[in-house]
Symmetry: C2
Subunit: 451 residues, 2 copies
């Protein structure tokens, strides 16, 4: 039942597109869901995609456009004239999607597209939405919703809903407002189905709605909808008037993006980058972290340089340099990941830095003891130097404790100063802990050697 894109299908479609046989193309994709066609369109050249769009009816074409990857979408939009963008795509989109499409155009083209719209109300909605800053509820919300006045009867309400339903694809919630458009509550479908026709809305609506403001940040919107299990969230302006609603599908994207951002940071990738991006974008996203690692490596070299004389006397100390460095990095990343994740999903709970530090310290004590014992056993068997064996174990223990505290503190501090704590995981903490670990290792080594 589910569509699966194959190489053969794609080849067949492309040759049909190139020979401009509309009927063949429609027989191939006509029955498919817009999200599936979007997957296909992402594999086509722009010129082929343009032909495909022209064969689809405008409603389907606009749905396809909104489903494709943003980078590719921007290129497709650029390939149409303002009039085409308005007529093929924008007129068939919900206001939030329409605003997203228009937002990528340069200012003068935006105005051209909006001027081409026949539906004045839609044009006004889009202009409204374009004003909100990216990353806020205002930029996420759509204007399509069903609202009823508290003074209406159930009968009046159903009549009005019928009218409004024309412009709304899905009815998530029926909102109840007063004469000044202020949001009062919601009306459940259940109540409408069971109430008598002359009952007043004011008597049957439910209060206590969770809402947000147009300026609420989008990650807060995502947290609200997740916490309260909402399918749609009403958005209010400064006066408490209902101006739009955010649906869960838009928020799923926000949640996915937030999670991916943290993952990328932990993996040493800046920006949002994926495998389909160009080599140049991929390079740009990685090089800064590699250069950071390089600088860390140079510092590491200088630290070891300070102890060159010790190395000459005890050259075997060099053997365990990678072990010490790697373990500091690993422990630091583990501790910081726990904190970053806790901050992201609001699960850190009450209490300040103290309890978290002491818990990480306890975990590190135990892990440090186990690791130091294991390496001591190995060295007592494999190495002929007792001093080296003790040096490695003692410094490993110290490095694990230090790295755990550091990995806990840094993201908490960053978060306190409103810097993204995810910055602290990955290459940054690894690099810093590498250097710290080397210092500890050689200081312990010299102390034991002199003793």
């Amino acid at each position: 039942m589910q569509f699966q894109l194959t190489r053969e299908f794609l080849d067949q479609l492309r040759s049909s597109l190139q020979s401009s046989s509309e009927q063949e193309v429609i027989s191939l994709v006509g029955e498919l869901h817009a999200a599936d066609i979007a997957e296909i369109v992402e594999e086509l050249e722009i010129e082929e995609a343009k032909i495909l769009y022209s064969y689809l009816d405008a409603e389907k074409a606009s749905e396809v456009l909104i489903n494709i990857d943003e980078d590719i979408r921007d290129k497709h939009i650029a390939a149409f004239t303002s009039k085409q963008i308005a007529e093929i795509f924008i007129e068939n989109l919900e206001s939030d999607d329409a605003a997203d499409v228009i937002a990528v155009l340069p200012q003068h083209e935006r105005e051209e597209v909006i001027a081409c719209l026949e539906d004045q109300e839609q044009a006004e909605d889009i202009v409204d939405l374009l004003n909100f800053q990216e990353g806020t509820a205002g930029a996420l919300m759509g204007k399509e919703l069903v609202e009823v006045n508290e003074n209406w009867s159930v009968k009046q309400c159903i009549r009005e809903m019928r009218k409004q339903a024309e412009n709304v694809d899905h009815i998530y919630t029926i909102y109840v407002v007063d004469d000044h458009e202020k949001l009062l509550g919601r009306l459940s479908l259940k109540k409408i189905l069971t109430a008598t026709a002359d009952k007043k809305i004011a008597d049957i609506y439910e209060t206590g709605l969770i809402t947000c403001k147009t300026y609420t940040p989008s990650d807060e919107v995502a947290n609200l909808m997740e916490k309260y299990d909402l399918v749609a969230l009403p958005v209010l302006d400064e006066l408490g008037r209902l101006v739009g609603r955010i649906t869960i599908d838009d928020v799923v994207d926000v949640i996915r993006e937030e999670a991916e951002k943290d993952y990328q940071m932990a993996s040493g990738l800046s920006d949002t980058v994926d495998s389909s991006d160009s080599i140049w974008v991929n390079t740009r996203a990685r090089l800064p972290w590699l250069v950071l690692g390089l600088i860390g490596g140079i510092f590491g070299a200088r630290v070891i340089g300070l102890y060159e004389e010790d190395l000459k006397i005890m050259p075997q100390m060099a053997f365990f340099i990678p072990l010490i460095a790697a373990m500091g990095g690993n422990v630091g990343v583990q501790s910081s990941a726990i904190i970053v994740q806790g901050l992201a999903n609001n699960s850190l709970g009450m209490g300040g830095i103290g309890p978290k530090l002491s818990k990480e310290f306890s975990v590190a004590l135990f892990n440090g003891f186990v690791c130091a014992s294991l390496i001591l056993c190995y060295n007592l068997i494999a190495s002929d130097s007792l001093v080296l064996s003790y040096t490695v174990s003692i410094s490993l223990f110290a490095v694990i404790l230090f790295a755990a505290l550091f990995g806990t503190l840094v993201p908490l501090l960053l978060n306190k100063y409103k810097i993204d704590p995810a910055l602290a995981t990955g290459p940054f903490i690894t690099t810093v802990n590498d250097i710290l670990g080397l210092f500890i290792y050689f200081i312990v080594g010299r102390m034991l050697y002199l003793a």
Copy 2:
């Protein structure tokens, strides 16, 4: 408007709970949303929580229970008798939530709780749901839905919906089935509002629904709902009969968990662990990766040991051991993260391993060249050994190329053999690349030194 838990509030509530003043407690939490009360309950001792549950009406109490963290929830459930669990919690929960709660009980208690349920239909639904394997659509779905027969008229349909709506909190979609319960399509609210009362359902329903089977894995369910922007997904049995529906709020949790799992793997944490888990759970989740790092470190020590004589002649080679090891790890993690993420969100697109490898290779060529040049500049200024300068740069370049190819190949291979590719990121790839890097470094060093 949104509730914010404070230390003062918590202290006040606890003292009210301890002095058993029901009125005070209700005045504090009575107006709050269940999700907010859940946040509070997570901070209480079990005995305090039990008192709080008893003051809330059963519907609110059950909503609170379903909103608290799973680990804490399990402990709370264990504090009640089977009869209490049935009457306070299960009877007021939707079937999927009820099954989740019961699933954590031992077999004999499960049967006790189910025997205490008054609603026979609910008991049957729960027994049904308990049979599905965790991680499948069957285990995610709920039984509450509104379904109408294709042979009914709109009038009949509304009458039936009224009846069914009693048991359903939210009406997401109205499903249309035939006489054998086979799912045919959906009926939009819009159509019901606009069709005449004697119109037959068969003439107005929409076909082409996206569906899944009871045995569909939950990550596939999440991908389907995300791709097709669904709020509810109907679940069919082997005969195509409608047996349940999955709502988006359950899938948001799946998406969040999947993303967190990848993040944790990349950070060297096994299992699902968060900051509120005990020290022991936290230790167990981390120690395996640390021991892996330890073993990697021992291998690294052995590799360097092979070149002990070279180190005696050129002790400065030790300086750049951390740099080579760290860079190999960083590059490997970057490459594997790109692949793991692409696999997770289905954005890798068409084509086999070839194009991906060649792209990663190009990115690595460029990054390798930049990094090798930078460190060469540094060394030409800071180091007095030309051989060392060349050794570091040449081996760094080789390490970056190697690590990128390795980081790309390993997750793709793991995925091919149905092993979670996220295993490849983090400590595993770092450790392997550490060892590989050291080999390359010392081989290059010896070659240049002998030349």
